[in-house]
Structure formats: C-alpha cells, structure tokens
C-alpha cells in the first residue's frame, strides 16, 4: 500500500523537490533565500501529507497537512523574517564551511543516508526513497547547524531536521495519531518562539548573533 502511494510519480517528484530545496539552503549565503527555501520545503511536505491523506482516506492527515502549511510554511518563515528585520542582521551568512564543499558534503550525506536505509531491512515495506530523503534532511540539518556561524542558522537547521522526521513519520506510518501530531506542532512553534527570544537576548547582550561569541563557558 505504502509503496503504491509513496512510489507514485507525483510523490516521488515532490520528495525530489524537497531535496532540491534543502540544497538551496546549503548553496545560499543570503538569509532570506534560506528562509524562502525552508518555506518551500515545508509547503512541499504539506502537499505530500495531503496526497497521502487523499489516497489513504485518513482524515487526520488533512488536518496535519493544513497545520504544516499554516505553521511551517507561513508562520515560522514569517517569524524568521521578523527576527532578521528587527535585529538588522547582516544579510550575508558567514560560513565555517564554504558553499562548494557544503554542497559536496550535502551530496555525500544523501548517498550515506541511502546506503544506511538500504542496510536496515525495513525497505521492503516502505518507500525507501522517502526514508532516504528523510534521513538526508536530518543529517543535512545537522550539518547546517555546525557549519554556519549565525545563531539563526542553527535554528533553521533544527527545523530542517524536524521536517526530515515529519517526512519519515509519514512514510513509515502515515503520520502519528492526531493528538501526538498536535503536541509536536505545539512544541515546534513554541520552540521557535523561544529560540527567537533567545536570539534577541543574544543580540542584546553580545551585540551580535555570531556563535563565535558563545565560547566562554568551558571546563
């Protein structure tokens, strides 16, 4: 069943586009384009949830899809843009790892994810492609967090990871019970708000949101 829905051409295409949007984040030095790419990624996820809902007839998934659209594709990107405007961050991202090596590492991570998913024997029952994409999102999100200097990019990295898990959950079990999904959405939203507050606080106390500054507590 799962293979039929998630293996269908449209879903495959959407998953491929999600990977493309992730690489847009890796390949960009401008904060706004990163946020836009994240918005697109969340929008595509909402579409996948919608298609799965339509083909399985599970009404809960429509709610989840709508919530993804509202929270992850609209509200969260808006919060990002608000933060960027309010604290007048320099629009360029400073990197620990440059763009081209970043892209290559991203590609390598996708390949590793592919073999990782292949090596555990759950492929037969699932679309391995969706799971590969899910793992790639998680690992690329992690990579974004450690390779970019701005605190705001660490926040984006976490959200990419979260999107990856969302995709994983949909491809494994068609999402989780509604109550749980609502809880997760609530946590993600509150988490973004609190990280936003922290970023404002960092900006106020350190007069910069470079994570280089945050290196005094050791030992």
């Amino acid at each position: 069943m799962s293979e039929i829905i998630l293996g269908s051409k449209s879903v495959q295409l959407l998953i491929a586009l999600i990977l493309v949007s992730t690489f847009m984040i890796l390949g960009s030095t401008r904060l706004y384009s990163c946020v836009r790419a994240f918005g697109i990624q969340s929008f595509l996820l909402a579409c996948i949830a919608g298609i799965v809902a339509y083909s399985t007839g599970k009404n809960d998934l429509y709610v989840i899809s709508a919530l993804t659209l509202i929270i992850k594709a609209a509200i969260i990107p808006y919060i990002f843009i608000y933060i960027i405007r309010e604290i007048k961050v320099k629009r360029e991202i400073e990197l620990y790892v440059n763009i081209s090596p970043s892209l290559i590492i991203g590609g390598v991570l996708v390949v590793i994810s592919y073999y990782l998913i292949k090596s555990i024997n759950i492929i037969s029952e699932l679309s391995s492609f969706a799971l590969t994409a899910s793992m790639s999102l998680v690992s690329i999100g992690l990579f974004v967090m450690i390779s970019r200097k701005k605190a705001i990019m660490q926040m984006l990295g976490i959200l990419i990871m979260e999107n990856g898990l969302f995709l994983g959950a949909i491809s494994l079990t068609y999402g989780m019970p509604l109550l749980v999904e609502l809880g997760i959405f609530f946590d993600v939203l509150i988490g973004v708000l609190i990280m936003g507050i922290l970023i404002f606080r960092i900006n106020k106390t350190f007069e910069s949101i470079d994570t280089d500054m945050l290196k005094t507590l050791i030992g």
Binding site: I120, N121, I122, V138, L142, M145, A151, Q154, I158, M161, E162, L165, G168, A169, L172, T173, M176, P177, L179, V180, G183, I184, F186, D187, I190, G191, I194, M195, I197, L198, R201, I202, K204, T205, F206, T211, M213, L214, T216, L217, G219
Partner: protein, 487 residues
C-alpha cells in the same frame, strides 16, 4: 480514581496562571507555596491510587500512570515542593537586593510552576507524549535560565536549547521507529503508544528496528539526561540557572530523561535480548563516570562541581540498569530517588553560599561552617552523602548496584565503577572541605541568609539521613513494583 491525573496536572498550571495575576511579592509567594502544597498532596494521592489500581489510564490513552510513573511523580512533587519553599528565601533575597524586580519575580514563579507541570507530564503520559513533555521541559527551563540577563546565562541557555533540541529530535526518530514496530502488531490506535501494551507485545518487534530505535533513544534522551559524551551543555546550564531551578534540573529533570531511557530499555530488551541494551547502558554509564572524574578533581566553580557530579550519578543509574537483575534495577531506581534528594540539598546549600559570598569560585570561599553554621553543616553532610559515604542513602544504592555488578559477573565494569567512584570521592571531598573548613574570608559576616532556605534543606536532609539505614515498608514495596515494571 476519577480524573486523578488531570487534577494533578491542572494544579501547577492553575498555580502558574494565578501567579501571573498577582500584584505584590507576598501574594505571589503565598500562591506559589499553596500551589506546590496542592501539587504535593495530589501527587501523593496519585501514588496511593496507583498502589490500589496498578494502572490508571485516561484521555484516550494519552494519560497513563503505573508504578514507575507514580515513582517519578513522587520525586517531582517532593523536590518541587521543597524547591518552592527554597525559592521564597532565595528569590526573596535577590528581590530585596534589587537584582530582580517584581515583574521578573512573578515571571519566575509562573515559569517555575509550568516547569513543574511539564515534568509531571513526563511521568504520566504515553511513549510519544513523553517526547512532547520532555521537549516542553527544555523550552520552559531555557526561559528560566535567562532570568538574569548575564552574558554567561544567555550563552548557557542557547547551548542548552540547541543541544537538547537536536538530541531530542533523535529521540523522536527512535520513538517513531518504535511506534512503527507497534502499529504492525497492534494496529493504529492509542494502544500502540501505551507503555503496558507496548511491553506486552515487545517480543514480537523486529529486533533490527528496535536496535536502531534504542540507539536513537539512548542518544536522544541521553543528551537530556546528561550521559557522556552528550553532557556538554549540562555544567553550563546547571550552573547558570537560578539555584532553585538548578536543583530541579539536576535532581528531577535528569531523572525524567532517564525515565524515558529506562522505559525504552524495557521494551527493547524484550525484543533484542538483554545483552545489547545492557552493554550499551554500561558503556555510556562508565563513560559518564570516567569523564566526570577529571572535571570534578580540577573544578574551580562549585556549582559546576555539582553539575559534573550529576553527570556521574546519571552514569551510575545507567550502570545499575545495565547490570540488571533485581539488585541492579532496585539499586538504580533507589538511586534515582536518593540522588534527587541529595543533589537538591547540595544545590540549596550552594545557593546559600552563593548569596552570601557572591562568587562561584571554590578558592574564594572558606570557613562556611563558621560563617553560616547551619548551612555549612548541612552542606558538608550533603557532600559526604553525595560521594557515597556511609551511613547516608546514596551509599546504600551505590552498594546495591555494585553488588549487582559482581553478582552478574561483570567484574571489569564493577571494578572500574568502584575505581571511578573512589576517585570522585577524593576529588569532590577535597573541594568541599576547602569551602567548608578554615577561617571565613574577611568581610563575610556570620549569619544565615534566610530561614526558608534552611527549612527546605532540613526536609531533604531527613530523606538523605533516614533512607541510609531504613527503607520504610511502603516505599520498599513501591520500588519493588517499579522493578517489576522495568523487568
């Protein structure tokens, strides 16, 4: 038994909301203390109910309580109550000295009670609810950490937030994998999340998937529980938070994360066999102990000293569970309780010292027992207790765990365990003695900071002392029930 869990969860939320609408310091303190008394009473009632009915389920399986949940609720409500008593003295002192204004004080109490709510929720929910609750604890406590707008607090809060959120994301993956395994057997209902039904069918789960899930869970919740090498945020966060919160973070929240690991340990063990899970737990546990050793011996900041000691004790609990058998699990569960009480006592003592001396450096403090006789004495007894000296409670649980290690024939781990503990004892004790004995530094007047803080410490001291040589039959029975749940 109707809606017991809901009442328990509502109490701290209502208290938090009421605190928000207060106008004076007196009002907010009165509401906070009565709220935590209510939480404590409801918590104890829930423990009693669970004793009678074994399992309580409500809200379409979303809320769930068995003996293990009741045990966590017990720890949270006792330490929460004591911490709220302590807060009146500690935060009141900060308020009197103009470090906090009324708005911040109110903000503190609101968050304090919401933090209590999230930790209670960890205990009384199902497998995915657990994830949601633990993530909520991170969010609330990060806000508590930035109560003081110091540079170091902001840095600590950011690290805490980022590292724990990433960790917990891994835990979510592990949880989803478990859910996936359960759905194949139980079908898509709330049952597939419930601890009891998960454990009942755990032996039919695919071992490969469960192995993967457990690794993710261990890394995820292990980050939150402060197991090495994912512990890096812990000393920062625990030393930078306001002291009553440090006590809650160290004494209770770490246990809550450990609770998550132990729950999944039970499920995974049923599916993969005991060797895989217990070896992993012992490795992470020993690593935590080993990493804590140098940091405790060479530590310069006494709140960080206590934080590293928490890393050590979480390691001990992991090892206890890893050794397994009735002795190992019993010791580990007892240790959770003992550590919660003793570490809170230590943090409270450290808080009193901090208020008086306004420095966290060990070298700048001496003669506490002379300048603050009561705090000094209790802090010293706490120091003896936390390092596992007889006749205090932690000695008993550590000894039980060690016995389990030898009984299971894990000689190398047991010897390493003993070795690390002795080294930590020496290092920790050396640092504490430097602070407690000697002559007070010039300019430090004799006298205690507040009677509230001493009352809080005295309550904890009773637990530390009594549980050292006498375990009340009711409490013993409760722990045995938890041991049965853990398996």
């Amino acid at each position: 038994m109707i809606a017991m869990i809901e009442y328990l969860l509502l109490a701290p939320i209502m208290t938090g909301i009421l605190c928000f609408f207060t106008k004076t310091r007196k009002q907010v303190e009165t509401i906070s203390i009565s709220g935590s008394v209510a939480t404590l009473i409801l918590g104890l009632t829930l423990v009693n109910e669970v004793f009678k009915y074994d399992i309580i389920v409500s809200w379409e399986n979303a809320l769930f309580a068995d003996a293990f949940s009741a045990f966590i609720v017990l720890i949270v409500s006792i330490v929460g109550f004591v911490a709220s008593v302590y807060s009146i003295g500690y935060m009141g002192h900060e308020f009197n000295h103009g470090i906090l204004d009324l708005r911040k004080l109110r903000f503190y109490y609101v968050l304090f009670h919401i933090f209590m709510f999230t930790m209670l929720l960890v205990g009384v929910t199902n497998s995915l609810g657990l994830w949601i609750a633990i993530e909520m604890t991170t969010l609330v406590s990060a806000l508590l950490m930035i109560l003081y707008s110091r540079k170091s607090s902001v840095e600590a809060a950011w690290k805490y937030m980022i590292i724990c959120t990433v960790g917990i994301t891994f835990a979510l993956f592990g949880t989803i994998l478990t859910y996936y395994g359960a759905v194949k057997i139980l079908g898509e209902s709330g049952d597939a999340l419930n601890w009891t039904s998960l454990i009942a069918v755990a032996d039919q789960f695919d071992p490969t998937i469960m192995k993967l899930a457990f690794i993710f869970i261990l890394i995820g919740y292990g980050t939150k529980a402060g197991l090495a090498p994912m512990h890096t945020w812990l000393p920062d966060a625990h030393s930078e938070a306001p002291t009553p919160v440090s006590a809650l973070l160290s004494g209770v929240l770490l246990n809550c994360a450990m609770y998550g690991i132990i729950r999944f340990y039970t499920i995974t063990t049923k599916s993969t066999g005991i060797a895989f899970t217990s070896n992993l737990l012992i490795i992470f546990g020993l690593l935590s102990l080993g990493i804590a050793v140098p940091f405790i011996i060479l530590q310069e900041d006494y709140k960080r000293l206590l934080a590293y000691s928490s890393v050590e004790h979480m390691g001990i609990i992991a090892i206890g569970i890893g050794f397994g058998g009735i002795f190992g699990v019993f010791g580990a569960i007892l240790h959770m309780f003992n550590h919660a009480m003793t570490k809170s006592l230590m943090f409270f003592g450290a808080g009193n010292i901090l208020l008086k001396h306004e420095t966290k450096e060990i070298d700048k403090i001496s003669g506490v027992v002379k300048s603050m006789p009561v705090t000094g004495t209790m802090f010293f007894i706490g120091g003896l207790a936390i390092t596992g000296s007889p006749p205090f409670s932690i000695f008993l649980s550590e000894f039980t765990i060690l016995t389990a290690g030898f009984m299971q024939g894990r000689y190398v781990s047991s010897v390493l365990f003993l070795l690390f503990i002795i080294m930590i004892f020496a290092g920790f004790f050396n640092n504490i003695s430097k602070m407690v004995f000697g002559t007070p530094k010039p300019g430090i007047a004799t006298g205690e900071v507040s009677r509230w803080t001493l009352a809080a410490m005295a309550i904890l001291l009773v637990f530390v002392f009594v549980l050292g040589f006498y375990i009340p039959p009711g409490f013993y029975e409760m722990i045995m029930k938890v041991v049965n749940v853990v398996g």
